[in-house]
């Protein structure tokens, strides 16, 4: 006789989709090492969510301007710390990744260079890494 390992959710209705909403959204981030395009899809979702979070944070930080120059100047002094500059590099990684991959998606999404979508992802990824390294050097040295 088989042993029962685990019990998961289910209501037994054959017309009910087999997955909960959370697990369905989880499929967006399910890299199964099958298609390179899935990496691009996940990258764009993660970077997009990160950029939305940053935008909200940025708007919140700008509100410091309403508290006078001392408040703003002390914040600017804080963000020149190398730890904060590292976060700038992370932000740039998101912008570059989202932007370059967005360009790729726009091209293949209108039927252009579809057969080279993998090569485009690799090529634009390499370009993104170069841009990020140059940007990081400039951030820390300029």
């Amino acid at each position: 006789m088989p042993s029962v390992d685990s019990v998961s959710q289910g209501n037994g209705d054959p017309n009910t989709p087999s997955r909960t909403a959370g697990r369905q959204v989880g499929r967006w981030f399910s890299i199964r090492r099958r298609s390179l395009g899935m990496w691009g899809f996940v990258l764009n979702r993660v970077a997009g969510l990160g950029l939305v979070f940053y935008l909200m944070l940025h708007l919140g930080v700008l509100s410091l301007l309403t508290r006078g120059p001392e408040s703003w100047d002390s914040f600017v002094g804080l963000v020149r710390h190398p730890a904060f500059l590292s976060l700038d590099v992370v932000l740039l990684a998101g912008i570059i990744g989202h932007g370059l991959n967005g360009l790729r998606v726009a091209l293949i999404g209108t039927g252009i260079l579809v057969r080279w979508q993998r090569q485009m992802l690799i090529g634009l990824g390499a370009l993104g890494v170069v841009l990020l390294i140059v940007s990081a050097v400039l951030i820390f040295t300029a």
Binding site: P14, T16, S18, Q24, R34, M38, F41, G109, Q117
Partner: protein, 238 residues
């Protein structure tokens, strides 16, 4: 040579909670995953239900998820998906309702095909009184549903027409001067149609028949984009 492998099979009976049952099977690793499931059924649990027919990747009826990947178990050798003493985690296709155990309910899939004028008929031959080709289906596609299971968009948009139907639509448009009916065009170009695809190419990577649904969806988009640009230019010059 014989390997002993473990099969962790998703179980589901109407009215009962889902569970996973574990079985040990001794089998030649050059046999297929479907062979191992049939061995479980024959020797250990006659209540296990799964669907299969041709055993050579023609019918698409046995499609399921093995170790996280959609496969046709009838042509997938055991040695390609596990090792001696290894485990096969076997589930029904994702993104479909489950009728029982490893059987996905394919009705949503066939409804999508019907939306683009590909109803199910008993034969691929022309029926009496019909023009040849009227009811020929998308011949490369074995309608296994693997592309829908692999697609992350289908996971969150149950109304999405899906890779198979969109690829079939592209095939019909390319092969026929009549193209699609107005109703089919509305489905293809609608909210849940070809613009919903996010170009992950998971469907093309998973397809066991090399249909390349993603490539066909992009070809359909190119056609639509060109038509829209032409329409805009025509409007501008009028």
């Amino acid at each position: 040579m014989t390997w002993t492998i473990t099969l962790e099979i998703a179980r589901h009976k109407p009215g009962e909670p889902r569970r996973t049952d574990t079985f040990q099977v001794s089998i030649d690793p050059d046999r297929t995953v479907l062979d191992s499931i049939e061995k479980v059924w024959a020797e250990q649990d006659r209540s296990l239900i799964f669907r299969h027919a041709c055993h050579h990747a023609s019918c698409g009826s046995c499609a399921m998820v093995v170790n996280g990947h959609e496969v046709l178990p009838c042509i997938k050798p055991i040695r390609e998906v596990t090792a001696q003493g290894g485990t096969l985690v076997v589930e029904p296709l994702h993104n479909f309702p489950v009728i029982g155990d490893l059987i996905a309910d394919m009705r949503p899939f066939f409804k999508q095909m019907q939306l683009i004028d590909l109803p199910i008929v008993g034969s691929t031959d022309p029926l009496p009184g019909q023009e040849p080709g009227d009811y020929s289906r998308f011949e490369n596609c074995i309608e296994c549903g693997i592309c829908l299971s692999a697609c992350p968009v289908v996971a969150t948009d149950s109304g999405y027409l899906g890779p198979a139907a969109l690829a079939a639509a592209q095939q019909r448009i390319s092969a026929s001067t009549n193209g699609l009916s107005r109703q089919a065009w509305e489905a293809v170009n609608g909210e849940h149609g070809l613009w919903r695809c996010h170009a992950t190419f998971e469907c093309s990577a998973a397809c066991p028949s090399n249909v390349d649904p993603a490539g066909k969806i992009m070809a359909l988009r190119r056609r639509m984009t060109v038509e829209r640009i032409r329409r805009l230019l025509r409007l501008a010059t009028e």
